[in-house]
């Protein structure tokens, strides 16, 4: 297969996935329509996460801080300053970008386990800050964005993000953008440097690449995409609370990505979808679904450490990005 063939296939596959998601809204029953909208927002978060974890090999346990930066960047400006949703979304992304660059300058001085712990601690500080500034954030209870706050006009059309179709398509646009950005990055020179850093940072540096800069770019991209997902969550589901800054929301993207396949572009979507439905179905007959998630993680790492798509790539479809 020539490289041009591969490119064509990859593009077809991604366009196909996006098209399938778009068409899904016309056939899915109401409940699954809603679930898929939420899954796409969370998958955008996981896609951001895998840029850093899967492709660059940096395990962060603090990504909730970026999600929360977006969540509060959008939530607080819309709630307190009366900004329109697009402006709030911009504020959320800006907050994520600034935070991730700042975190990058500090945390990227460490590697390995120390990086994991530094990100975890910085995220803990952000979580505590969301409680400390309770006057604005209402801490754990959080703030609710009303329907009016989530409605805006663009080119003469009124868009109400609390309606199912608007929500679904907004989530789809978010996810599609994240996916395409991820795909573009991993196929660009930056992406190759990222993978090289994952495989052997010293060698990459010796080859003349500025590995710090590449890692910083990866972290900034990853953090900003996570923030975009956070901002979308606030605007689409009308709630921002400090639960989303807690350590659990740093572990979730790791789970989703691992199940789907760490260094794959579509793995995050598959992982998020699979875990969401697994919890949804099992919680129907037992409240011990965490046990199931735990057992599944252990089995997964024992039998299929590269995740679902990773296993597929290893066995059959070597061209998967």
């Amino acid at each position: 297969m020539t490289p041009a063939d591969t490119t064509k296939r990859v593009l077809m596959l991604h366009a196909g996935v996006i098209a399938a998601l778009f068409l899904a809204q016309f056939v899915l029953p109401e409940y699954h329509h809603g679930v898929l909208a939420r899954v796409m927002v969370l998958a955008a978060y996981a896609t951001g996460y895998t840029l850093l974890f899967g492709y660059t090999g940096l395990l962060s346990l603090g990504h909730a801080m970026f999600f929360a930066a977006g969540l509060y960047g959008a939530g607080l400006t819309v709630y307190h300053l009366g900004w329109s949703p697009p402006a709030g979304f911009g504020a959320g992304i800006a907050a994520g970008l600034v935070l991730s660059v700042m975190v990058g300058f500090v945390a990227l001085r460490t590697t390995g386990v120390a990086f994991m712990i530094v990100t975890m601690m910085l995220a803990q500080a952000v979580y505590l800050a969301s409680l400390y500034f309770g006057e604005w954030t209402r801490g754990d209870e959080g703030i609710v964005l009303t329907q009016a706050m989530r409605t805006f006009e663009i080119a003469g059309a009124t868009i109400d993000l609390s309606l199912p179709d608007e929500r679904f398509n907004a989530a789809l646009i978010l996810y599609a953008c994240s996916l395409l950005i991820c795909l573009a990055v991993v196929r660009a020179p930056l992406g190759r440097v990222m993978v090289a850093i994952r495989e052997n940072e010293d060698r990459t540096r010796m080859l003349g690449y500025d590995t710090f800069q590449a890692k910083l770019m990866a972290l900034a991209l990853s953090g900003t995409l996570s923030a975009a997902a956070g901002a979308s969550y606030a605007l689409l589901f009308g709630y921002a609370g400090s639960t989303f800054a807690s350590i659990h929301y740093s572990i979730y993207p790791l789970l989703w990505v691992l199940l789907g396949g760490a260094a794959t572009t579509l793995g995050p979507l598959i992982g998020t979808l699979a875990i969401t439905y697994m919890i949804d179905v099992t919680s129907g007959f037992t409240s011990a679904y965490l046990l199931l998630v735990g057992v599944m993680l252990v089995l997964l790492v024992l039998w299929s450490p590269n995740g679902l798509l990773g296993a597929l790539r290893d066995r059959k479809l070597a061209w998967l990005p």
Binding site: V106, G112, V113, M116, G294
Partner: protein, 293 residues
């Protein structure tokens, strides 16, 4: 209250935190140092130790010291056995590959937590302290049991140090930590060392939990805090360094207490967290450790 006594109280509190923390962190540090893996389920072993302490001590009538003593012996043994089992069934098969173990231990975290919720329930339950003395300072009173926890922790740490520094087992551990392959070439059964270290690490967490459970209570979600703190202590103290672990535990325990004298509590927590993160960033090998390979 005047500043002096206030500081004294904060220091006492810091000391108790440090005592329990150094035991918990020592367990994590041993595993981390010898096996080079991060055990995310360490906090759950701590929780399991506390829950088992409640289950063992509560049905025993009569002097509370009796139930407590029994818990002190049995709870770590059970936890150690469970750790042994999970090491054999899961971690060994993963060949201790760092990322895979992190994921597997996150899985174990969920499993243990859910089992505790199912069989122990969502309530916080206290265990009666073996004795109930109160020490009256001129400005405030303080729990005698808490001070005895500090004593117990020092004794246990000394014991661990003796084992590590003076016995054959300690030698084997240190050799494995220094260079696993060479150690194996010299006939040290690495495989058994690993499984022993993992079990002992969990048992240290369980001992710390039994000590704490008359002060705090057993609750199925209690594992997260000691886990985070132990991580910090281990990193700051340096890998597998007993001295470093103790000093880092004292630093963390004290800084948390003393910063809270000057700032509002939540702000103090934020500052302490950031401070520790900065130490990590600017001295990633820890205060006492040598650079990680």
């Amino acid at each position: 209250m005047d500043f002096g006594p206030y500081l004294l109280l904060a220091s006492l509190e810091g000391l108790v935190t440090a005592a329990v923390l150094s035991l918990t962190a020592l367990g994590l540090s041993l595993v981390f140092g010898v096996m080079r893996i991060v055990n995310v389920a360490h906090g759950e072993f701590f929780m399991l130790g506390a829950v088992l302490a409640w289950a063992i001590a509560t049905p025993i009538a009569g002097n509370p010291a009796l139930g407590f003593a029994l818990a002190m012996v049995c709870s770590p043994l059970v936890v150690g056995a469970m750790a042994l089992l999970s090491e054999r069934l899961v971690l060994r098969r993963l060949k201790y590959e760092p990322e895979a173990t992190i994921v597997a231990t996150i899985g174990m975290l969920y499993i243990i937590q859910q089992l505790a919720l199912t069989f122990y329930g969502p309530d916080a339950r206290a265990v009666q302290a073996p004795f109930d003395w109160r020490i009256q300072f001129p400005w405030f009173g303080y729990s005698g049991y808490k001070l005895s926890v500090v004593g117990a922790s020092i004794t246990l740490m000394l014991l661990t140090w003796l084992v590590l520094a003076r016995t054959r087992i300690g030698l084997m551990l240190r050799a494995t930590q220094y260079d696993g392959e060479t150690a194996q070439a010299f006939g040290i059964p690495i495989d058994r060392v690993y499984c022993g270290v993992f079990a002992v690490g969990a048992m240290l967490a369980a001992v710390a939990a039994v000590l704490i459970v008359p002060i705090q209570q057993a609750h199925y979600l209690m594992g997260l805090d000691p886990l985070l703190l132990s991580f910090i202590v281990v990193i700051i103290g340096g890998l597998g360094s007993l001295k470093g672990t103790v000093v880092a535990a004292v630093v963390i325990g004290m800084s948390d207490g003393i910063i809270s004298v000057f700032f509002s509590p939540t702000l103090a927590k934020i500052l302490a967290t950031l401070l520790v993160a900065m130490v990590l960033v600017y001295r990633p090998q820890g205060l006492f450790g040598k650079a990680v390979r």
